[in-house]
């Protein structure tokens, strides 16, 4: 199989996503008062409604409807005032009524969009934008200084309920194939579930990954879901087809499942694009089928061939009253919208003169954005001066630390905004070197100490006193007359040697800037 970059030169990938998110931050299920809780004893969060007992009736959770309207408003959707719940027949044991209560042709949220900023390595998959000037558009992408912006349409976000969970026994590794029987737990059945469907506007696996990432940031900012891809509270399916560069007609698409991490989403789509290209290039045919991404085997495998369109016998659910939302109500929900990541990034750029890149990365996580803001507040009058070094600390050091310590939340570490500001102040005042700053940063986290204390205990205070340094400089020059001679004869590279000698004398605590200045002036005189 050819590599993705090669394939994308000849083929354009057309990708659409279906993203499910459970509204895990609510207290109860979609249509009954059973508690939402992951990992409880099987079937202990069940009642007549979510077990589909005969005679039980659903009553929608108001907070769930508010949540999905928030999601719609945050993704630039039109909020439909008139919509209904439908029944979608789905005879499968994890669906207790054997139909799913979901929405019909009209969902609460329709016709939205998100813009994705793609830059760096991520932009490289989009080979068709070569030669565009900044501000110029091709397809649904617009060239920017650092990459491009992709405009991605959102078809709809609708409200539905999740299914129960099954464990398959006897098939090896819990697989359904070969299983002799299965166990059903309905604790998850009826969990409020939103499904967002994009237009087929994505062109690369990177765009798909970034879309998912951005949507996750928005949902987290809205506080409507914990968006755990591991626990399955946020899940993504992809539809992929290929067409020759320049072609208008869509190819046959396959549906890809089990992409339960950002990496799997990217890799699964990348594999599927390459697989389809190979089949097509060898004169073969793509079948409309559902495929499963196997991350360990690094390939997609067929789950189900769709010979005909599924017939879900969809019809309006007579048990649920229709919705007739008022402008007033929609506005009352809009008033609850928190600052969204894009808005926050723009504010950071504006208020603290950060680059778009820094601002975007700061707001990637709510915790880092909040941390940065707390630091700026503590910085007070110095906020403008300290913004860039604090941003660097957060984006580079803090992120690296958190990545290395999986499962650790920033709030649970000894690094408080006050300590971060103190550390940055030390560096900004040249009290410690940037190399020492790294050591102090590590010590704060490992030993739970204030930066000033670390510096004091380790005798790290940088000496910037010109008098003290001058004495050392003079001594070093006096001790190396031959080198001084060579320097003055043109071997200026020796400056490093002199700096090193001075630092050695001062056990690393001399301010390199002052040393450099003094050396330069004395050697040139």
């Amino acid at each position: 199989m050819r590599k993705l970059e090669e394939v994308l030169k000849d083929w354009e990938a057309v990708i659409g996503l279906e993203i499910h998110a459970e509204l895990t931050t609510l207290d109860t299920k979609m249509f009954c008062g059973c508690k939402l809780e992951f990992g409880a004893e099987p079937n202990t969060h069940t009642c007549p409604v979510c077990l589909g007992m005969p005679g039980a009736l659903p009553v929608p959770n108001r907070a769930a409807i508010e949540s999905i309207v928030l999601a719609g408003l945050a993704t630039n959707c039109d909020i439909e005032k008139h919509s209904m719940f439908y029944r979608k027949t789905y005879m499968y044991p994890d669906m207790s009524k054997n139909y799913q209560t979901t929405q019909g042709p009209v969902a609460f949220c329709m016709r939205g969009h998100l813009d994705l900023d793609v830059d760096g390595a991520a932009a490289k998959e989009r080979i068709d934008l070569d030669g565009l000037d900044v501000g110029e558009s091709r397809g649904n992408a617009t060239r920017t200084e650092t990459g491009y912006t992709a405009h991605v349409g959102i078809t709809r976000i609708h409200m539905e309920e999740d299914a129960g969970k099954m464990v398959h026994i006897g098939g090896g590794e819990g697989r359904i194939a070969g299983a002799t029987h299965s166990l059903v737990d309905y604790n998850r059945a009826g969990t409020p579930l939103t499904e967002l469907v994009t237009e087929p506007d994505l062109r690369t696996p990177e765009e798909a990954r970034l879309f998912m990432q951005k949507l996750r940031q928005i949902y987290l900012a809205l506080g409507i879901s914990d968006c755990s891809m591991e626990e399955g509270s946020m899940r993504c399916d992809g539809n992929v087809s290929l067409r020759r560069r320049g072609a208008k007609e869509f190819g046959v698409k396959t549906e890809l499942k089990n992409m339960n991490s950002f990496k799997n989403l990217h890799d699964g789509l990348a594999y599927e694009i390459c697989r389809q290209a190979e089949v097509l290039e060898e004169g073969g045919q793509i079948f409309q089928e559902t495929r499963h991404w196997d991350p360990s085997a690094k390939r997609t495998i067929v789950m189900r061939v769709k010979e005909t369109a599924d017939d879900y016998r969809l019809f309006p659910d007579p048990d649920l009253a229709p919705y007739d939302l008022t402008d007033e109500w929609i506005e009352s929900v809009r008033a609850k919208l928190p600052e969204l990541p894009d808005q926050k990034a723009a504010r950071f750029e504006d208020a603290f003169s950060l680059t778009p890149y820094d601002a975007r990365h700061l707001v990637e996580h709510r915790a880092t954005a909040d941390f940065f803001e707390a630091c700026m507040e503590l910085a007070g009058a110095d906020a403008a001066k300290l913004a860039k070094p604090v941003a660097n600390l957060v984006i580079n050091d803090v992120t690296a630390y958190l990545n290395a310590h999986e499962g650790t939340e920033l709030a649970d570490t000894p690094l408080t905004p006050a300590r971060a500001v103190a550390l940055v102040r030390l560096t900004a005042a040249d009290a410690i070197s940037s190399k020492q700053a790294k050591e102090v940063f590590a010590a704060i986290l490992d030993e739970d100490k204030d930066p000033d204390a670390v510096v004091r205990e380790r005798g790290m205070e940088q000496v910037s006193d010109t008098g003290a340094i001058e004495a050392v400089v003079d001594a070093v020059l006096a001790a190396n007359p031959d080198k001084v001679e060579q320097y003055r004869g043109g071997k200026t590279g020796l400056i490093g040697f002199f700096v090193g000698q001075c630092m050695k004398e001062m056990r690393g605590q001399g301010n390199p800037k002052v040393i450099n200045e003094l050396l330069a002036s004395k050697l040139s005189s």
Partner: protein, 499 residues
Amino acid sequence: MAASPAFGAMGARAIRAGLVAKEFSAREIAESSLARIDAANKDLHAFLETTEQLALDQAAKVDAAVAAGELDACGLLAGVPVAFKDNMNLEGTHTTCSSKMLENYVSPFTATCVARTIEAGGIPLGKLNMDEFAFGSSTETSAFGPTKNPWDLSRVPGGSSGGSAAAVAAGLATVTLGSDTGGSIRQPGSFCGTVAVKPTYGVVSRYGVVAFGSSLDQVGPFTRSVEDAALAMNAIAGRDVLDCTSQDVSVDFTANLAEGVRGMRIGVVPAFMEAQGLTPEVKAKVEEAAEHLRALGAELVEVDLPNAQAAMSAYYVLGPCEAFSNLARFDSVRYGYCDPGHADLNSQYEASRAAGFGPETRRRVMLGSYLLSAGVYDKYYYPAQQVRTLITQDYARAYEQVDCILAPVSPRTSFKFGEVSDPTDMYLSDMFTISINIAGNGGMSLPVGLGADTHLPVGVQLISPAFKDENMLRAAAALETVYGPAPVAPAYADGKAGE
């Protein structure tokens, strides 16, 4: 046991008076009623299960209230023998829907209408036979054998709430609850000669009542007097947070019963009276009732329901579609019949549903599945919902002129077992009742004596505007002053049964 009064043959007012005067205790009511059921049910087969313990526990509560002089706090139906159609969940009892599918299902929760009846002080005697999942008009589709008509044991009690009608007609209970999707309360009420009320859709909660057609189903009472029906309505009506389609009802249904019909405008539908299949004896009874209403001071007005003739086909689209979906949950996994010995789920599904569902249930489920399938939906389901709009508008227009409409309930009196075997012929039983379910407004059957030809009970139908159920009860109460309260079927009158 010494002969006790047939409490089930008494009205709620008489029972209350007797309790207050300490002529008898609630325990006597419970024990005597259970004994009568035990004796009568061998022939009638109205009850599928009796609830001795629940009855005795409830009787003890009522007796304690009597002793404390607090009977009023006990509720509107204190000490009244009550029973429920077997599609109503009552915790700890079987709720079979007269289907093999649910033969062993034990309810883990209680339907709101049942809970309210018991909260009102009713003594729960048991669960009543019906057509399987309410699909039928005769109780002949019950998997446990049909209920018989107390007026003539060779005849059907009507259906689907045949057990509920028969129990009241035989004086085994004062109030029973049934459900009506296309006529399933009113038609058996007519066949057995009881007052039978299908309230406006949304007046009574459907929570806990096993669904047939969710947009059509409505729960209502069977009684032998209009006053008891109004009392029962007071007990069960009103908004239930567990049913989104239930609505606030702040009406005392007994309030205007004594007002008479003077000044009321009552509609008659000429097309109904000329309908093919309407038997002369039923027609004569409706005309007679109309004359009585006129004599009592009502103004009779002819009204037109031009689209009512489409109600039958709309109903046989909507009912099966909703039933198909509602019955999808019976799959042998969480409850219900599970055919043993299957190694794969699909064969367990197919065998369990084939063996668990009777022929009429299978027909309705499969019909509904067909009607909702891609391409077919637009031909039947969607137009049926449009027709519903037209029928609703018809009624709304008629109610601009009248307060209530008088019509036949069933085109004929009760038929013999096996007499109507073709499903489409059976469906005609509901020709005068169905349009009311389609539009959602209230309708009731009031017994007006026996037919001239068959000497079997005949009911007339009174139909109210939506959420004006008090109108039909008022007209019914006026007619009742002429016809008298419904008698217990002669074979069961005066405690004859159980001796």
